[in-house]
Structures are given as C-alpha cells and as structure tokens.
C-alpha cells in the first residue's frame, strides 16, 4: 500500500522520525510512488532558473535550469497539490523565470532530478512535503 498523504500533524510527526531537515518528505514520495527512487542519504543543492512550475497531481514538479557547464535541467518533485496547499503553497508560489536555490534528495539513478527538500526564491523559502 503506497498512496500516502497523512495529515499535516502526521507529516510533522514523521519529520521528527526521519533524517530529513524539512517537514516529512517521506509521505511525499509515497503519495504516488515509492520513496526508494531517491537517495535519502544525500542532499544536493543547485542554483538556477525556474523553467516550469507544474501545479499538478499526483506531484507538484519544478523544472530548474542550471547554467553549468554543462547546462542541465533538473526535475524536482514534491508532494501533491492537496497536501501542500494545506501548508501554504499555491499555484502562484513559484513562477517561470525566477532565480532559485534548490536542495533535494537526488534520484538514485543519477539522472538530474530528485525530491524537494527546500526551494528559496528571494526571501521566500518553501519546504517540500505532503
């Protein structure tokens, strides 16, 4: 049984029980697929420009272009629309063209992507979750 998006309180509770520095990432991945896609032992940070912000279920996805070299496009997943809007996210939270600092748990297969830990745009910090 994999679909998960426990309550905000549960997410907070899970946060305390996981290795993550942010609120309960674990339920995020499992909301639609296993957590095991991502390497939970690593956190990668990048700086780039948001190419696209997909406010969609089962996962919100942020595409970030980094200049490199080599230039790369990272695909960063986070939780569902339903869970994250309960924590303050909205469809307008992130816009294409914005400069962003992103930290994430990388894909185990080495492809440029991962599970969002945190995205910082200017003074605004959004945490992945749910």
């Amino acid at each position: 049984m994999t679909p998960l998006s426990p309550s905000p309180l549960l997410r907070q509770g899970l946060c305390l029980l996981t290795l993550f520095a942010c609120s309960a990432l674990a339920p995020v991945a499992s909301a639609h697929h296993s957590f095991a896609l991502f390497d939970q032992t690593q956190t990668v940070s990048i700086k780039g420009v948001v190419e696209r912000f997909a406010w969609t279920n089962p996962h919100i996805t942020i595409y970030v272009d980094t200049p490199g070299p080599p230039a790369q496009r990272f695909k960063i997943e986070t939780g569902s629309v339903n869970a994250l809007q309960r924590t303050g996210w909205s469809a307008e939270s992130i816009k294409a063209g914005e400069s962003a600092e992103v930290s994430f748990k990388p894909l185990k297969n080495g492809e440029p992507g991962g599970l969002l830990v945190e995205i910082k745009i200017g003074d605004v910090v959004l945490t992945g979750g749910g």
Partner: protein, 260 residues
C-alpha cells in the same frame, strides 16, 4: 433595565416567527414516521470530514507501513508469496527502481484502503445511503442502507466493492463484497469471496471509530480485525485529479521517474 426588556420582547417576537415558519414548513413537507429509527433526526450524525488519528498511526517508514491489526494470519502459500514480495521490493528499492503499485498508475485504492484515510475522507449520509468521498483520486464509495446484499454471483467486481449497511442503535454496520481481486491491502491480495464488515460509530461528537473485520477463506486462516480511528476536521475536501503521472513502468514492473 429598559434595553434588556426591549431585547427580550424582540426575542419573543423572533421566536414566535420562527415557530410559525417551522410549522408552515412541516405542513408543506411529508412528515417522517416518529418511529423511524433511521431518520435524519434520530441517527448519529457521522457526516463531515475525517482524518486518521492518532497522528503516528502510520508508523515511521512510508515504504513499510504499520499494519493496523498486526501481521495478517495468511494461509501458507500466501504467506510465502508475501515474504517473496517483500524481498523483491527490498531489492528493487535498494536499486532505486521500486516496484510499481496500482497508485503508480493512478488507480483507486479500493476497499478497505479507502477507509484508511491516508488522505482525508468526507462522509455524507441520509436515510437511504452513506457516501464516503476520498480526497485521494476523488474516490467515491456508496453504502446503500436497509437493502439486502444481492447474491454475490450477480455482482460485478469493483474497486470499492458493493456495500450494504444498516444502523444498529448508534452503530452503522456495513458489509462489503466483491472487491476487485487486483486490489490489495498492505500488499496482501484477497480472494473473490472476501467479506469486509465494518462497525462505525461516534465515540464522541468529534471522534469516529471503525471496527473492521476482513474474512477471506481463500487467503486468511483467521479473520483479520483492526480499528480505524478518525478525528473530525474542518478541512474542505479538494479536487484531486491525477493528471500528470510522471512514472514510467518497465516490463519488470519497476518504476522510474520520467525526465520529460
């Protein structure tokens, strides 16, 4: 004192007006039999949005959730299959290519997982039916009240099965049959004759209890019993359309993330 008397007089007029209007409404609509124990006015109100409680109900590892009633008493062949599946899952997880599940394909959870309320659920009910709306994937479960369960062989398998219910005092008793056999519960399969019985009641106005018994002569040696506890929530269930599935599933059933 005068303002108080004025207010009291006004309240009396309002009261008279309300009583009069209420009487007119009653006269205009058919009245329910006073002895109808299932009527809206007498049955417990379990309507509303509900979320699971206590907060740590799920356990620590999302890839290895706590079974609500402890280990299931599986028949030997299914116990062996379950152990083998867990080994395959562990190997696939380690490799970063977890085995795909029905949710990887945006398919409904089905019963009884819907009632686990991993996302919030909403209950709506009247004299004839109880509707359970699951936020996750916009699932709908219909429980028809005071109707006999049709012969099983006449029922087509469905994700949520076929549910019939009735009130026994303060408890809604529901039987569910014919859940699709490709629906699993905590990675455990079930046979076509699985029967789920639920006893749902308010323990306080804001706390709902669902005592569940799963009987499955094909898979289980003994009935599997557990209780889901829910707390009332003021959250309004939202739309959930699984429109942007990014999972790619290979021939071996292993999932990876599309990079498109």
């Amino acid at each position: 004192m005068k303002p108080t008397r004025t207010l009291n007089t006004a309240m009396i007029f309002v009261g008279i007006a309300l009583v009069t209007v209420a009487g007119m409404c009653n006269a205009a609509t058919p009245s329910k039999p006073l002895n109808d124990k299932h009527s809206v006015s007498t049955r417990p109100d379990i309507s509303g949005t509900w979320e699971r409680t206590p907060d740590d109900w799920f356990g620590e590892n999302p890839d290895d959730p706590v079974h609500p009633g402890g280990p299931m008493d599986l028949k030997a062949s299914y116990a062996d299959e379950y152990v083998a599946l867990k080994k395959r899952q562990a190997i696939a997880n380690e490799a970063g290519t977890p085995l795909a599940t029905t949710s990887s394909k945006c398919l409904p959870e089905g019963m009884p997982t819907l009632m686990a309320a991993l996302f919030p659920i909403q209950i709506i009910h009247d004299d004839k039916q109880v509707i359970v709306l699951g936020e996750y994937l916009q699932q709908v479960r219909r429980i028809l009240l005071n109707e006999a369960m049709p012969p099983k062989e006449t029922l087509d398998p469905k994700y949520q099965g076929h549910s019939r219910g009735h009130w026994e005092g303060d408890t809604l008793v529901v039987e569910t049959q014919r859940v699709r056999t490709d629906v699993s519960f905590y990675d455990v399969p079930h046979g076509k004759d699985m029967k789920i019985t639920e006893r749902i009641r308010l323990t306080t106005p804001d706390h709902l209890e669902n005592q569940v018994v799963i009987e499955d002569p094909q898979v289980l040696k003994t009935p599997y019993r557990f209780t889901f506890e829910y707390k009332r929530s003021n959250y309004a269930i939202q739309e959930y359309v699984c429109e942007n599935n990014q999972i790619v599933i290979d021939k071996e059933g292993k999932a990876s993330l599309s990079l498109e």
